[in-house]
Symmetry: C2
DNA sequence: ATAATTAATGTGATAATATTGTCATTACCT
DNA sequence: AGGTAATGACAATATTATCACATTAATTAT
C-alpha cells in the first residue's frame, strides 16, 4: 500500500464518488480490524460527512440524518461523532465547530487543515515540515504533545482562480 | 524595546503581577497610539482575562464582571471580546472556546499556543520555524493564508514534574 | 443455548456558548 | 454643537454540547 498523497479536493481529476467509496471501504476495514462496530447509524453519518469536502456541523448532520433515522437526537449525533473521532475517521475542525472526513485514517499522520473561506472546503496536508518544526518547538518548551489542531484559513487555489476571472 | 521572548508562565521566576502590569501598560499604550478607547469595561475584562494564564470562557468572564458591572449581559462580554481580539490584545483559543491574554500585541508575531490539559495554562510561542514551514506548505498547495490557529494540547513542564513526583 | 456482560441507542431535559437587533442614553472627539 | 463610538437595557433566539436513565442489540462466558 502506498502512502497517502496530500488530498486536493478541487483538482480537476477529483472523482468524488471514488473518493467517498475509498473512505468508506477503508473505514469498514479499519473497524473490522479493530473489532469495533461501524453500525448503520455510524456508517450513515460518515457517509453524510463525506458528502462533500466542506466541514459540516453537528446539527446539520442531525437534520440530514433524521429523514431515515426519525428518532435521532443531538446525543445520537454527538455520540456518533465521538466514535468517528476516536477511530480517526473524521477530523474536528476546532475553529468552525465542525467535522470533516479524514483521508488518512489508516495512518498516524497528523494533519494540517487548509480551510477555504469561500468554498468552505477543507484540504488535509500531511505537512511533515510543519510537524517537525512543531515537535522541535514543543521540545524546547519541555512540553509533551498529546494532540494538535493546526488550522489555516484562507483562499484555496480554485477560489483564487474564480476571483481572478471576475 | 526588545523582542518578546517566548512566555513560560510556569517558570519559577514568573512574577504574575509584573506580567499583568506589563500587559496592561502595553495595551493602554497601543490603544492610545491607535486612537481606540480602552474603556473601563474593556480594561476590566482584559484584567480579568490576565488574572491567570488559563484560557477563560466568555460566560465565566461575564460572571466575574457582574459584581462590579451589574448590568453586564452576554452582549457586553462579546462586544468587549471582539474589541480585544481586533486589537490583538487577546487570543481566542479555538479548541476550548475560550480566551487568553496575548503577550505579543505590540508585534505581528503569529503565535502557537501550548495548552496544558492539567493546569490548563496556555503558553504562547512565536515559533518562527513552524510558521515558515506552514507558509511553505500553503504555497505548495497554492493556498493564500489569511489566518492561522495552531493549538497544541499536552502536558506542560510544571505538570510533568508534579506527575513525576507522585 | 442461555445467562451475563458490554456496547449501542432511545428519550427527554438542560446546560453552555454565541449572535442579533433595536432603541435610548452616555461618553468622547472635533 | 454636532458627529461618532460605546454602553445600557432590554430581549429574543440560535447554536453547540452534555447528562441521566431506560431500552435494545451484540458479544462473551458458562
Amino acid at each position: 500500500m502506498t502512502q497517502p498523497s496530500n488530498h486536493i479536493p478541487n483538482s480537476s481529476e477529483h472523482n468524488h464518488n471514488k473518493c467517498v467509496n475509498e473512505a468508506l471501504i477503508t473505514a469498514e476495514r479499519l473497524c473490522r480490524e479493530r473489532g469495533v462496530q461501524l453500525t448503520p447509524i455510524r456508517h450513515k453519518v460518515l457517509t453524510l460527512i463525506w458528502d462533500s469536502h466542506k466541514a459540516v456541523k453537528a446539527y446539520e448532520l442531525l437534520d440530514r440524518l433524521r429523514p431515515e433515522q426519525k428518532t435521532a437526537k443531538p446525543a445520537t449525533i454527538y455520540r456518533t461523532l465521538d466514535f468517528l473521532l476516536e477511530q480517526g475517521l473524521i477530523h474536528r475542525v476546532e475553529s468552525l465547530n465542525a467535522f470533516v472526513g479524514c483521508h488518512c485514517s489508516a495512518y498516524q499522520h497528523e494533519q494540517l487543515l487548509l480551510i477555504c473561506k469561500y468554498c468552505e472546503e477543507v484540504q488535509e496536508r500531511s505537512a511533515k515540515g510543519v510537524m517537525t518544526a512543531l515537535s522541535h518547538e514543543a521540545k524546547q518548551a519541555d512540553f509533551i504533545v498529546h494532540s494538535k489542531a493546526i488550522e489555516v484559513h484562507g483562499t484555496c487555489a480554485k477560489c483564487q482562480k474564480i476571483q481572478a476571472s471576475q
